[in-house]
């Protein structure tokens, strides 16, 4: 049973005082009827005032309780915003490097434990330095932002994308092997190729390297990322704006 609020304890104490004051009168059956009636009336009035007091305190208590709950809800809202802020890249609103690496590590651990293969794509914007140098950083940022949106629009529900570097993105595709991953990669590449960015209507292309946990059976995360990196490098070397799958 919960403790009685101290303020209500005081109210109950007052109630006892009133009762003991008028108890003697009420028990005296020899009192004339008029006097008896008056004493009951006084008792009733005293009770009424006490009840009014108690209701007022409860009312005010409720108002402040509501305030407390609202403050608590606001705190929860701010916590959620803070958490989101800590895992998202502020420019692109995809996961930041730290968080996408967590997803990658987790996917890799799942492979080891449950033999659940996954694919990994690294995507790099072609000729980004030239874009920045020619059009300036604000346009460069716009290119990065739009590329992130184009990537996200082509992913499936279970896939994750994060900003891996300045103009690089890491994509994790769980329960996916390279054949299917290549289809996703090509969809992304074509979407980016067909889109234009900004009022300059810039054409942007991307190069993609991909691999999965089966090819060359990487035993560590670093090994797998290295394989994907090699594939990306080959995509750049072969002329950019293409997807290359890692082969041993």
């Amino acid at each position: 049973m919960t403790d009685i609020d101290p303020s209500m304890k005081k109210v109950f104490k007052q109630e006892l005082l009133i009762l003991s004051k008028y108890q003697l009168i009420a028990e005296d059956a020899n009192l004339p009827e008029q006097e008896l009636r008056q004493s009951y009336q006084t008792l009733l009035n005293a009770y009424r005032l006490l009840l009014q007091d108690a209701m007022k305190i409860t009312n005010i208590g409720d108002i402040n309780q509501k305030k407390l709950f609202e403050a608590f809800e606001e705190l929860e809202r701010q916590k959620a915003i803070l958490y989101q802020s800590s895992i998202m890249d502020h420019l692109t609103q995809v996961y930041n490097r730290s968080y996408i690496m967590k997803i990658f590590d987790n996917a890799f651990a799942q492979t080891k434990r449950y033999q659940q293969d996954f694919s990994c794509i690294i995507l790099d914007i072609d000729n980004f330095k030239a874009i920045n140098d020619t059009y300036g950083h604000p346009v460069g940022d716009e290119v990065i932002k739009e590329t992130a949106q184009n990537i996200a629009s082509q992913l499936r529900d279970a896939d994750s994308v994060g900003r891996y570097g300045g103009e690089e993105f890491l994509i994790i595709l769980p329960n996916t092997r390279v054949a299917e991953a290549k289809q996703v990669a090509e969809k992304i590449r074509i979407t980016v190729e067909n889109a234009t960015v900004g009022k300059q209507k810039l054409s942007v292309t991307v190069s993609l390297g991909l691999s999965d946990t089966l090819i060359a059976s990487p035993t560590t995360q670093e090994e797998m990322l290295h394989n994907v990196d090699v594939a990306l490098y080959q995509a750049k070397e072969k002329g950019k704006n293409r997807t290359v799958t890692y082969t041993r």
Binding site: D5, P6, S7, M8, K10, V11, Q52, D53, K56, I57, T58, N59, I60, G61, I63, N64, K66, K67, L68, E70
Partner: protein, 127 residues
């Protein structure tokens, strides 16, 4: 007569009682474990002021949160001021709330409704 200064803690008010001016300032949040225990010195100060100085009292309240037991104590305190006022003395209670704090404004209005003494509910800008 001495002034009374109670410094705010994480769950109790900042209270300042000036015996030269009769101004009592209460500021902050109030949810002490034992409200009666906390407010006792303030009640004692008021009794001394009424007996020894017997001049005007102005109670300024800038309160952000009140638990139930603090509400009862504040009720009793303002009740005491009401008695003092009804004896022909100058008393003013000013209840302040921030412009968008409807809860504290409502609390002030609840107090005002019951009290038969000069009681104003006012907006203040926290700086």
């Amino acid at each position: 007569m001495n002034n009374l200064i109670i410094t705010a803690a994480k769950d109790t008010l900042n209270i300042n009682c000036d015996s030269a001016t009769g101004i009592i300032d209460m500021k902050g949040i109030s949810y002490p474990q034992d409200a009666a225990d906390f407010f006792n010195p303030v009640f004692d100060w008021l009794e001394s002021y009424i007996n020894e100085v017997a001049a005007q009292v102005i109670l300024n309240l800038h309160i952000d949160y009140l638990n139930t037991s603090s509400t009862k104590c504040l009720f009793d305190f303002i009740d005491r001021l009401e008695n003092y006022y009804k004896q022909g003395n100058a008393v003013q209670v000013n209840w302040y709330h921030e412009v968008d704090d409807e809860d504290i404004k409502e609390t002030g209005l609840e107090f005002q409704e019951d009290m038969e003494l000069p009681f104003a509910v006012l907006v203040w800008v926290k700086n």
